[in-house]
């Protein structure tokens, strides 16, 4: 396994317009050997472009890619010694399940008994041991995708394993099973893994570090907890979480913010901030109170089973609040914002308190 370094990577897809938009703009990243990373963002954010640059399917128009300090920018995918798993299953229909898994090992000239041993390990990990000798064409789409995953994991000598939306077409229940298997495998073997997805739950639960991308740039790299608690950008706040972070127009002076004419105590001293100032707070960190808090008006109530999402109007702006299942919600609730969970944004970028 290897560390992966990106030096001034930028990419522009060929077009007649040389001043056209960049699909990726000036990335400098160092990803640790043995880390589990997720690239998360909406379609068109550049995450697949970046993955293809790392795998060698795409030559970046600028910059270098290094594995363990060795420049691999000009190497083909085969020469980079990586494993890849794609969104749709890639299996040989005429081979058996076991033969499919053995294929990458045979290609590397591994000894027969070693292959048998390794294939058996992967089969049991994926719960496919009893189907080892069935032809792949008789399997369901879910099982075929399991084989694809298995082929990605079967070699232990690869520099990195790259996953491009591997669970998107999988049914929800199996998704849980496969995701936890991947997590276990990562904890056990510490492969360098890079996982592209638009699904926040997948990204956050899989990765040690999540790279949130938007418009060809990296907006934030952080642990799931950092992305949840202190999003570096309002886009990250809104993209992560369901519903996302409430972003409210505000004015800030020192330790006080004013939202819709309401004064809120802040967790620190921000001095005076100008330009476009916004206050961010997650729906999870607003609660209903009997006595104190801000007077609001209930706009809608959505009971989604495990909790209730209430949308409330302050004076003008709307906030989402998450309350536990079974809570009764008044027409005019009083809202309490958890003071230490408030973030302040200036022109969409997180501002830290001065002291």
């Amino acid at each position: 396994m290897a560390s992966i370094e990106l030096k001034n990577i930028a990419h522009q897809y060929p077009s007649e317009d040389k001043s056209g938009p960049y699909a990726l703009s000036s990335l400098n990243e160092l990803w640790q050997d043995g880390g589990a990373y997720a690239l998360l963002g909406p379609s068109g954010c550049g995450k697949t472009t970046l993955l293809n640059i790392i795998s060698g399917l795409l030559q970046p128009s600028e910059g270098r890619v290094l594995f363990d300090g060795v420049d691999v920018t000009d190497l083909s995918p085969e020469k980079r010694n990586i494993a890849q798993v794609f969104q749709f299953p890639v299996v040989y229909d005429t081979l058996t399940v076991a033969e499919n898994l053995a294929f990458p090992l045979k290609n590397r000239g591994m000894a027969k008994d070693k292959i048998t041993e390794r294939v058996a390990e992967i089969l049991s990990m994926l719960g496919l041991s009893d189907r080892a000798n069935e032809k792949a064409h008789s399997l369901t789409a879910d099982d075929k995708q399991k084989i694809s995953l298995g082929r990605g994991l079967v070699r232990t000598d690869v520099k990195a394993i790259l996953f491009d939306e591997p669970l998107t077409v999988i049914d929800p229940h199996l998704k849980w099973q496969l995701r936890t298997e991947l997590k276990k495998i990562h904890q056990q073997f510490r492969h360098t893994m890079i996982y592209v997805t638009h699904d926040q739950t997948e990204a956050l639960t899989f990765a040690d570090k999540v790279i949130v991308m938007y418009g060809g740039s990296v907006l934030q790299i952080g642990t799931p907890e950092e992305l949840f608690e202190t999003p570096a950008h309002t886009f990250v706040g809104q993209f992560i979480g369901s519903p996302g972070m409430n972003i409210l127009k505000a004015s800030v002076d020192g330790t006080v913010a004013i939202v819709d004419g309401i004064q809120l105590e802040l967790p620190g001293n921000y001095r005076k901030i100008d330009d476009q100032v916004e206050l961010g707070i997650r729906p999870e960190y607003i609660s209903l109170s009997q006595t104190g808090g801000i007077q609001a008006e209930t706009v809608s109530i959505d009971d989604v089973g495990k909790h209730i999402i209430v949308r409330c109007r302050l004076e003008r702006q709307i906030v989402s609040v998450i309350v536990p299942e079974g809570t009764s919600i008044p027409d005019k609730p009083r809202l309490v914002f958890a003071q230490d969970k408030i973030n302040i944004y200036q022109n969409a970028v997180l501002v830290r308190p001065a002291d």
Binding site: P42, S43, G44, T140, A141, D142, D171, P172, H173, W176, Q177, R179, T180, K183, K184, Q187, H198, D199, Q200, T201, L204, T205, F206, P224, E225, L227, F228, E229, Q238, F239, I240, G241, S242, P243, G244, R282, E284, D302, D303, V304, G305, K306
Partner: protein
Amino acid sequence: MLELRSVSRRVEGEIFVDDVTLSLNRGSINILLGPTLAGKTSLMRLMAGLDKPDKGEILFDGESIVGVPVQKRNVAMVYQQFINYPNMTVFENIASPLRVAKLGSDEINKRVAQASDLLQLSPFLNRNPSELSGGQQQRVALARAIVKRAELVLLDEPLANLDYKLREELRSELPSLFAELGAVLVYATTEPGEALVLGGCTTCLHQGSVQQFGPTLDVFKNPVLLQSAKIFSDPPLNVAIFESREGICKIASEERALSFLRDKLPDGSYSLGVRPHHLSLAQTGSDDLVFEGGVSVTELSGSESFIHFDFQGQPWVALIHGIKNFKEADRVEFYVRSKNVFVFNSDGLAVEIEP
């Protein structure tokens, strides 16, 4: 109203739809929930008139529609894949069913303007579909269903290929969009979370047959069958088999967890079902059940922890608020309020437990 009475369909001896009886009303969304191959698409094809049932009746507003070809019926379908005419503008794509119906150009302009306003497509009417994002392309397909003023609108996993956040947005718009038109709206999905956000009524499907039908939240909170509880749980339902003998209930040798069932069940074999979000790390009531297990893996989503553990040989998962990072093999005790457990008999039928 769309009614299916004892409808069955087999293909080459295999059961696709098994004795389905359903009444679907206008003005609210009707969800078909189940994993791949549960029969969702087969049912929709019968409703649309694309396939004929082997047995049973299908009635629309009291009149049989079996054998009436799809062209003669006012039906609109939207699929998972975005289907648009690539060489036509967005305007012409939306207008296409109206051109086929030979409507006047004033009426066409009016309807397209209305639908594109509703779906925020007005700025793109002169573009080609390929110049739109996936979400916008799918909205073109939805707009086509709207202008047609179809009486029956069938949406087959329409959001499955879209980004997570886009899905959130379209999901919140969809039910009201079609409800206002007074159509019978049917929506197929594999995802329990999607059904809960959409609301309306839900039909749980398993191997071509209806497990449960009713208001969405009611089906979620009060499953009448083990199978519908399983279909309607994400993360998956935690299940343990237990025995009742002479008033005492035991899971394997474990007696403590089920003391609240003492003298309440006749002798026999039962299943216990617990939703992951009902497990907690702290005791919340004096009648709590306790489940102890060894942790296999913990997934952190930033605000929640999914703790996977082994309970008496079964893989269980707990959804806990906050970040709780347990190590592999840690022994952990989880608590559940007794009112939050489901008990099913050996036929998979829910058993009412007297408090």
